[in-house]
């Protein structure tokens, strides 16, 4: 790469900190210069800022507003005309004795169980795979590519393939478990009933562990080799090195990784939607699909928005608490 040297040297005077040359051809006032200098970074940020406002922040505020409205299909063409509902959408959502509230609570617990299982195992698989491929050996590059493939596939395509594998009559899973291995006494339904929960967990893990693998792999490259060499001279075996050097060094990566996995999994809409359609079986009725159904299928947008706001509040609290606890622990050593 070459940096061409230009000879029209700065013409003295107000050659400010960053060394931008004033344009001698135009008489710009000093105020304008200062605005340009101070305002430049904001100018660079402006497009990003506007887009984030338009697509994320304004709709979010709007969504909070809608949650206080009685917005049903009747008012959808004229949403300004929908009557205010006060807190009633929220009352309905958290009234756990009535039908809507208890369904929401059930969906919340399903989502929590789903998230804990899927995140925990994704993290475990990814970390184990990254640590075991830390040293060079024959076939390592091929393995890495294989491991990353699930993450590269479009989500909907891979969920469709899993849906096929979980079919009752012609799926691979029943063929393997029932016909080949004889583990189950009769073929099982995987996309309805209790098994649907595990189907969802398995697909989520399959999809997300490569990301954990990728992040931990990146984190491992930041560990200085001297640490391992020094500990080897001191007689530490490889298992001890993993426990005493590798795992503690990964703490910073893990802090971000687990949070990102948590948010992705908790918010995941694509996997259940492609797997089950717009209404999931009750044991796998995760919250994103539950709210989608409340909003777009029963056309009660006010209620759906109230539920989404509650979900966002929950995520905010959990994220804040998580960051607080993990940051404090890492600063204590």
């Amino acid at each position: 790469m070459t940096v061409s040297i230009r000879h029209d040297a700065p013409s003295a005077g107000s050659d400010t900190g960053r060394g931008r040359a004033p344009d001698p051809g135009r008489r710009s006032s000093r105020l304008w210069q200062r605005v340009r200098k101070g305002g430049l970074p904001y100018l660079f940020l402006l497009p990003a800022l506007l887009l984030e406002l338009l697509i994320h922040f304004i709709p979010m505020i709007f969504g909070i507003l809608i949650s206080f409205k009685q917005l049903t299909l009747f008012f959808i063409r004229n949403w300004q005309g929908a009557p205010w509902a006060g807190w009633s959408n929220y009352h309905v959502a958290v009234d756990f004795h009535a039908a809507i509230g208890s369904a929401l609570l059930h969906s919340f617990w399903v989502t929590c169980a789903f998230t804990v299982l899927a995140v925990g195992l994704s993290w475990l698989f990814g970390t184990v795979a990254a640590i075991l491929t830390q040293d060079t050996f024959r076939g390592r590059a091929v393995l890495r590519t294989i491991f990353l493939t699930p993450f590269a596939l479009p989500v909907y395509a891979s969920v469709i393939v899993w849906a096929f594998m979980f079919q009752y009559n012609n799926g691979l899973v029943n063929q393997l478990l029932h016909n080949t291995l004889g583990i189950t006494s009769k073929p099982s339904f995987w996309l309805i009933g209790h098994n649907s929960f595990f189907a969802l967990v398995i697909i989520s893990i399959w999809r997300n562990w490569p990301f954990a693998f990728l992040c931990v792999m990146a984190g491992l490259q930041g560990i200085p080799r001297d640490l391992y060499e020094a500990s080897a001279i001191d007689g530490a075996g490889i298992w001890q090195q993993i426990r005493k050097i590798t795992m503690p060094s990964l703490r910073a990566v893990n802090q971000v990784l687990v949070l990102v996995l948590f948010l992705w999994t908790f918010n995941d809409f694509t996997t259940p939607f492609v797997l089950f359609g717009s209404s999931a079986p009750s044991p796998a009725d995760v919250i994103s699909i539950h709210i989608y159904q409340a909003s777009f299928i029963t056309w009660n947008f006010g209620e759906g928005s109230a539920m989404s706001v509650l979900m966002l509040l929950f995520l905010l609290v959990v994220t804040a608490a998580y960051l607080l606890v993990t940051s404090r622990r890492s600063s204590n050593g």
């Binding site: 940096v3 698989f125 184990v128 060079t136 493939t149 479009p154 009559n169 012609n170 063929q175 399959w206």
Partner: protein
Amino acid sequence: MAKRRGLMAPPPSFLWTRRIVLTLLALFALVPVYVMISSSVKPLQDVTSTFRWIPTPLTLAPYHDIWYTVPLARYFLNSLIVSASAAVLSVAVAVFAAYAVSRYGFRGKRIFTTAVLSTQMFPGILFALPLFLIFVSIGNATGIPLFGSRGGLIITYLTFSLPFAIWMLTSYFESVPKALDEAALVDGCGPVRALFRVVIPAALPGIVAVTIYAFMTAWGEVLFASVMTNNTTRTLAVGLADYSTQNNVYWNQIMAASLVVSVPVVAGFLIMQRYLVAGLTSGAVK
């Protein structure tokens, strides 16, 4: 990259654990891919009866039929236009933002980066409906058809990849020595020219990687694609479901179509994974 961790060869217990665990994980990762490929070359009666591992007889008919059972070519074109536009625009916007974050100190910098990253936390379902209503209102007020058009989807998708793009590009730009663009500034380049002449060329691999990532994000999105498209603008993410809503579930064609729509992104991802790891590494070290 660490070649050998210690000075000693690892013990057999470690080697065996490694062999067994990595084999199992590779199988877990690959079985669905194998099912997709092998089922895509089976005749219909073989995918509707008991699953068999080896496809006999082989047929390539599904790869011909997929284009006629549903208007796959149109969905493909829509996805291509939407994803490519969203990716290029997203990176174009992110380049300037990342340049500002990596090269300037300014008030509100921390708030900006935090706010942008925090959008990753929002459940998509929370702003799907309001965005839908906003797009409809803008359309009614100005006549710009955002709802149901590719334009609306492009804007939406470009903001989805924007936070990650800004974050990654900032870390790529910070790995470009500041002395380089400062030299250009001293030589009389404006900041924009310094960005285009010095910083962007130096960070080009990273920019390509982020573009591919943004493309993949848009290519795989389902929720907004299902809410915001109509018959003519429908993308693959929604269109692929058409194979199974009819009387017959054409599993072999579904598998063939899944493979066809996966090839562009898998190829792109495998090309860029090296740069992605490099970017994540410098991001993680910070």
